[in-house]
């Protein structure tokens, strides 16, 4: 069940009505209802995956209790290792088994050893990387005495499987979401309106921006040999906006639906394409994953404490693991490696925390220096997306080669003017709204006259209807 599907348009109002009208007097029953709805939502992809989710939930719930109840440090560690081992074992099996088998066989063949191997027909459970990381953060936090384990299985089940974040994040922390699950929620008019507005903006990003850009990105990437260098650049830019619209659009819908149910989820995007350097980009892109790796991998590895070379090593580890988290393909590793390379000069020159606030301050325009930084960072990120989008490393290099070797100043053969104008308008709205939680969060301040504000919403809705119909899956579901 996709957020941009008719099924979800029926499912969510039913959940909303049951939640706020039927079960409003008892938050424990509300939690049970939300957990059941979340399992239904998840099982719509494949009911068998529900068992895996339930197993993972039970494992982390009881591991959490066992870690907290263990008398010695050694026993705590043992329970942690069991939990992490089984979680990563499942993730590794479903996501990386075939990749490792194939890669190992290819390695042997390169040494002249003829390897007989067989891969398994494994279906990747939707969202496994996300809920595994939810569970892992929970047991890590208990192990490190950051939180106490919950003794209520329903609450924990809802924390892991809450449908807005179940299949593509944001990757929540127990310290943030569990307390919200454990206390009653009251309907808040302003919060619900804000949630609806964020859902609307998310749908716009997904249906109007991402799905349309996807059409041209697919066309150009699939037959990149037929296109000129400038057209290949258009393809790269189309994917750059596709993935932003897709993933941040999904996140907006997730956060908006959760807000309508009285929950505040972690922010996952903060206008990454307005970043002035790569370090800032990574503080604004997929924030919940970056901070997860920072807290549970970078800092345990020594973080920034052990001198420059240890920071460099740890940074490369983080980016490579982050790349690999996205999928079992060398292209994701290359993407991560490239970003680590981008990051390196900033790290060596101690410039990685130079740009903390948002570009442009409170002004209408960025300074010239900021603008140059934004253009360079955007270009670097867009270039790296080629590896992310290409089916394999060879194709990525051929694509990049084509961009330069076939470059001329002629007009691209694929030049969707209307879409380009829509993307430009979208980026202007995002720029103007960059101080808000999402692009149009502060529209009340900009359009104080209600009919005007409603007219703007209607325009967005109309654009969504105009482009609906070519329903496409969210890219991050595969991770």
């Amino acid at each position: 069940m996709l957020f941009n599907s008719f099924e979800f348009a029926v499912f969510f109002p039913i959940v909303f009505i049951l939640y706020w009208f039927v079960f409003k007097n008892n938050f424990k029953v509300q939690n049970v209802m939300l957990a059941v709805a979340s399992y239904y939502f998840y099982c719509c992809w494949d009911w068998r995956f529900g068992f895996l989710l339930a197993f993972s939930t039970a494992l982390d719930f009881y591991s959490g209790l066992a870690i907290a109840g263990a008398g010695t440090k050694a026993r705590k560690k043992m329970w942690l290792i069991i939990s992490v081992g089984i979680n990563l074992g499942f993730l590794g099996f479903f996501k990386y088994y075939n990749f490792f088998i194939e890669s190992f066989a290819q390695l042997l063949e390169s040494f002249g050893v003829n390897a007989n191997y067989s891969t398994l027909n494994i279906i990747l459970p939707v969202g496994i990387s996300f809920y595994t990381f939810h569970g892992l953060s929970y047991v890590f936090d208990i192990y490190n005495d950051r939180i106490k384990p919950t003794t209520n299985l329903i609450n924990y089940t809802l924390f892991v499987s809450f449908f807005p974040l179940l299949v593509a994040g944001p990757i929540e922390r127990a310290t943030h979401l569990l307390p919200q699950v454990e206390k009653p929620r009251k309907f808040n008019y302003a919060q619900a309106i804000d949630g609806m507005r964020q859902v609307l903006w998310g749908l716009f990003k997904k249906i109007v921006i991402a799905d349309n850009c996807a059409y041209y990105a697919n066309q150009i990437f699939n037959d990149h040999g037929d296109y000129s260098g400038t057209t290949l650049i258009v393809g790269m830019l189309m994917f750059t906006f596709q993935i932003y619209g897709d993933f941040s659009g999904y996140t907006d819908i997730a956060l908006g639906t959760a807000r309508m149910l009285g929950f505040e989820l972690l922010k996952n995007f903060n206008y990454p394409y307005f970043s002035r350097d790569i370090a800032e980009f990574w503080r604004r892109w997929h924030i919940s994953l970056s901070s997860w790796f920072k807290d549970y991998l970078y800092i345990p590895l020594g973080g920034s404490k052990g001198g420059k070379w240890m920071r460099v090593r740890n940074t490369f580890i983080i980016f490579l693991v982050s790349g690999f988290w996205h999928g079992s393909n060398w292209t994701f590793l290359a993407w991560g490696f490239l970003h680590a390379l981008y990051f390196l000069p900033l790290l060596l020159l101690d410039q990685n925390r130079k740009n903390i606030d948002i570009a442009g301050g409170n002004g209408l325009f960025p300074s010239f220096r900021e603008f140059v930084g934004m253009v360079v960072t955007f270009s670097l990120a867009a270039f790296a997306w080629i590896f992310f989008r290409a089916p394999n490393i060879t194709e990525a290099f051929i694509y990049i080669g084509g961009m330069f070797s076939k470059f001329s100043l002629e007009m691209p053969t694929v030049w969707p003017v209307t879409l380009i104008l829509i993307v430009v308008a979208f980026m202007i709205v995002e720029w103007l709204g960059r101080h808000g939680k999402y692009g149009i969060a502060r529209i009340d301040n900009a359009l104080t006259f209600k009919p005007l504000r409603w007219a703007f919403y209607m325009l967005v809705i109309f654009a969504i209807f105009a482009y609906a119909g070519s329903e496409q899956e969210f890219i991050y579901f595969q991770f």
């Binding site: 409603w454 109309f462 119909g469």
Partner: protein, 303 residues
Amino acid sequence: MKKFILQLILFCVASILAGEIIVRAFDLTVDVPKSYRAESGMIKYYPGQEGKYAVGSHRWKINEFGYAGTVPSGTDNLITLLGDSYIENFMNPTECHQDAYLKSELPQYNFIEAGRATASFLEMLEMSKAYDSLNPFLHVFYVKNSDFLQSIDNGKGKKNDKVSYNLKTGKIQYAKYEGSTSKDILYNFKFFYYCYRNIWHTEGNNGEIPDEKAIDKLNREEIVPFMDYVKKNYDAGKMALVFYPESSKELMDLCKSYGFKVMVIETDNHKSWQFEHDAHWTCYGHKQVALQVKKFIEELAVK
């Protein structure tokens, strides 16, 4: 909560009104002709209707016989062109129809079209009767494998929406007319229709040719009785079949053996004849088809 619900309802009503105004002002939907079930059992459009296909591009007209298209000024040497949505051809302007292209190539003949989306071959045969009063000398049917399969009701699947030959009774059965209130609402409230078309009725599904490969081996126990029925009730001598690319050779041979004149449209790149999100032919595609049909008609005239 009360305030939230009230605001939501108000916003929805305002949005529907605004949407209706925008859709009508900018002609964003396709006008759909209203249909009815004629006494003959055939589903036709009410004659004389007119409408727009899409954003201000072209208009369609329903002729006095209840089919899309125009009646030629003269009826000498009249050839009828019959088919499904490819011939109905709402998606292209009048000058991109088969009758227009063929008339420009073969001015000595007159052409008239009759098509209905999802029509089976048997329905096309029945359609040809509508023009009997004009006394055409040749009927040209644009057909594909599935048109034959859909003409036969073997009792296994529902064929309510097709004119078909019932194998058990040995009789023709007419398509069920599916007029409904929901359809009337959709056709009258253009914003709803616009949403319906964009969300549920995706363009990508239009004009798909189903089961084209499924007829590699003909089920002779079904097709032969059907063709016997056709031979008995229609004048195959006055009929020519234009098969779509990649049609079954066995089927074409069978049709020849029943006295039909047969040709197959040939192309190396059928995709280039079709719309981007729609398998129907573009103006270019229609012209390529017409050029091949022209040669076929010329050959028939020589014979």
